[in-house]
């Protein structure tokens, strides 16, 4: 019986090609689905925030209908962003050591601070100043527990006279300006975690932080497109076509930039063909065909580029319904494409040996901490959080003070 069991285990063991260092011959890569999700979710936060900043800082009034939705999206995803990282640790109970005794030469050590800064100093404060006026109003008209919640959220600051509200808007504007470099920092830093690993030629790349920032913006805008269309559909509300057109335009330009930089990275790799290039090329062809060639390049980049590009050219000739469907498809494809890109970076970097002589295999399990199920739960969690937030803060039953006047900030 034992022999039979052992034989089965041997068969299930992943397949290695060529020579891999003995410590690399593990069943699972060290960083798997959880570390794929971590930069994905963080990127969505940064991108959604940039989307909101377009209204607040860059005065793109057409995007007003999605302003609050974008901010709430960023917030809901930010709350869930550290979870995959935390679950992946061998000793999650020691996670606070990263902040208590950080090792300052480590790119990972700064994550706690960047995250805390972004959550506490930027997003939470901006949301509060944005919503304070509404909280006061809502706490007066909503009965029961929900009303109590709103009262709690005011933190006792119930002054809604004109100068007080104006001050809210001014501070909100400043926070938004501070938020843009912070969002870049948050995700550029995530890119640096990988880009700084010189031991791994797939990761160690100076363009990595920039690629991560660009793909974050693309995925964040796509998420806002997706959320806006889904929310309008659920609420049976008409979609503001001007708003979605402008979102589509920004998505298109961001995608063009993103694709250009990633293409530059590949051209450079192909041309310089440094040590390790051949094994990486072989790995990408053999192991990443579905996620790289199909997922990231064909369906995640080229198809959305075509769809969004044609929408830029022939917008007026395409009927509203078809346009909405094209935006929805592009948004969804981009979201899947960027997820595939995170997979290709994180998993791809661990599918070839650092001896540059062999490939490792990876079959994702279903259950378990690093399985499909856990991945799906962690990916669904921010959407659940967002649903609760939308119920509380984007309720149709409550009057909204709407988007703060961007001109208020310009008086500073």
């Amino acid at each position: 019986m034992t022999n039979e069991m052992t034989n089965i285990v041997v068969e299930v063991m992943p397949h290695f090609e060529g020579y891999v260092y003995p410590n690399e011959a593990t069943q699972q890569p060290l960083w798997s689905i959880l570390i794929v999700l971590y930069p994905y979710i963080t990127g969505l936060v940064a991108g959604a925030f940039i989307m909101a900043s377009l209204v607040r800082v860059f005065n793109v009034r057409a995007l007003e209908p999605v302003y609050r939705l974008s901010l709430l999206t960023a917030f809901a995803f930010l709350l869930c962003a550290p979870l995959p990282l935390l679950f992946h640790l061998g000793h999650p109970e020691r996670c606070f050591e990263v902040m208590m005794t950080p090792h300052l030469t480590s790119p990972m050590a700064i994550f706690g601070f960047v995250y805390a800064w972004y959550l506490m100093a930027v997003l939470l404060l901006e949301l509060w100043f944005d919503y304070r006026h509404d909280f006061v109003t809502w706490s007066n008209i909503t009965p029961g527990f929900q009303g109590m919640l709103y009262r709690l959220f005011t933190v006792g600051v119930t002054d809604i006279t004109e100068p007080a509200v104006k001050l809210d808007h001014k501070i909100g504007h400043i926070l938004s300006i501070v938020g843009i470099p912070s969002a870049f920092l948050l995700h550029g830093y995530v890119g640096f975690i990988f880009g700084s690993v010189k031991a791994n030629p797939w990761w160690g790349n100076v363009l990595m932080p920039i690629i991560f920032i660009m793909s974050a913006m693309v995925s964040g805008i796509a998420l806002c497109v997706f959320n806006y269309l889904v929310l309008s559909w659920i609420r049976r509300k008409t979609v503001d076509m001007n708003c979605i057109d402008v979102m589509g335009k920004f998505l298109f330009y961001a995608l063009v930039l993103d694709a250009a930089i990633e293409a530059l990275d590949w051209i450079h790799r192909l041309y310089s063909a440094e040590e390790g290039f051949r094994i990486m090329q072989y790995m990408a062809r053999e192991k990443l065909f579905y996620t790289l060639s199909l997922g990231q390049v064909a369906f995640g980049t080229l198809v959305p580029l075509l769809l969004l590009g044609s929408l830029q050219l022939f917008r007026k000739r395409i009927p509203d319904l078809l346009r909405r469907r094209m935006y929805f498809t592009s948004g969804l494809l981009v979201l899947i494409g960027v997820l595939a890109m995170r997979w290709n970076v994180v998993i791809g970097g661990q599918l070839f040996s650092k001896s540059l002589r062999g490939l490792m295999g990876y079959k994702m399990e279903f259950a378990g901490l690093e399985g499909w199920l856990m991945g799906a739960v962690l990916l669904a969690l921010p959407f659940v959080t967002l649903t609760i937030m939308i119920r509380l803060f984007l309720s149709e039953k409550l009057p909204s003070s709407g988007v703060p006047d961007p001109d208020a900030g310009q008086a500073i």
Binding site: Y19, P22, N23, T26, H91, P102, A199, S355
Partner: protein, 269 residues
């Protein structure tokens, strides 16, 4: 009065220099004391890491691939079963070029069954087709600029003043960043303790005057170990440095490994 070199400025500079001279040794002592407090995994209290400089060198010409070192290491350091090794032995087989191929060399075949613990398997190519065949023992390269130390987010892995690169298992959060950062595949995440692990030069042994387990059992002295600060008569390490032109692994990465190899080939990475 306007003279820039006033008596006051000279006195000031001199006193700063004097204070600096006084503080420097004190700071050095304090640093050593602090390091001694921290450098404690397996070392006795009386051990002073600042008085040693441990080094390992590998003479690949002597290695017969018996695997005793890898086995001894597993036992001595309670390394878990499976693909977890603090040291291992790679076998390189470089075949002769195919007749008429106009190549200098044939294929390069590398293997390492069970970390080389039980000796090499049967050669995959017949003897007469082999151009070169040799064994390369691998271990932590004890880099001067260790990427693993650089990236540890909590400082759980550190350079000891005596040349060892150590990990504090009570402090490691198990993020795996150091394992990704090591270019030589020398680290692994211990599945039982969930912390990173690697060769410590058998710190618990060398700090009480013993040799690392792998050095102790090596029947051919392919592994050479010594203390640069306390050379003995006919020091094997000094002789190794004197008698060989040496190489280190992946020098282009700038990690400056302190483990030197003699008798390896360009194919060794």
């Amino acid at each position: 009065m306007n003279n820039p070199v006033s008596r006051r400025s000279i006195l000031g500079k001199v006193s700063v220099a004097v204070v600096g001279l006084l503080v420097a040794p004190a700071a050095k002592v304090a640093k050593a004391a602090v390091q001694q407090v921290f450098v404690s995994p397996g070392a006795p209290k009386s051990y002073d890491p600042t008085k040693h400089k441990w080094r390992m060198a590998i003479d690949a010409n002597r290695c017969i691939g018996c695997g005793l070192c890898a086995e001894a290491c597993k036992k001595e350091n309670h390394v878990p079963e499976g693909p977890y090794f603090r040291t291992w032995i790679e076998r390189y087989i470089i075949t002769k070029p195919k007749p008429g191929s106009a190549e200098a060399r044939g294929e390069v075949l590398v293997d390492c069954r069970d970390g080389g613990m039980h000796g090499p398997p049967e050669s995959p190519v017949p003897k007469e087709e082999v151009q070169h065949s040799f064994f390369v023992p691998k271990l932590c390269n004890l880099c001067e600029h260790s990427p693993c130390v650089q990236v540890c987010p909590v400082g759980a892995t550190f350079d000891a003043p005596d040349g060892a690169v150590l990990i504090d298992p009570k402090y490691c959060i198990g993020c795996g960043f150091c394992i990704q950062a090591c270019p030589y595949g020398c680290r692994f995440l211990n599945p039982l303790t969930k912390t990173a692990e690697k060769c410590t030069l058998c710190y618990h042994r060398i700090t009480i005057g013993l040799k690392p387990a792998c050095v102790e059992v090596c029947p051919t002295q392919a592994r050479i170990f010594g203390d640069l600060k306390n050379p003995v008569t006919d020091d094997p390490l000094q002789q190794f440095y004197q008698n060989n032109r040496v190489q280190s692994l992946k020098p282009h990465l700038g990690t400056e490994p302190r483990v030197f190899y003699a008798g390896i080939d360009k194919e060794v990475r």
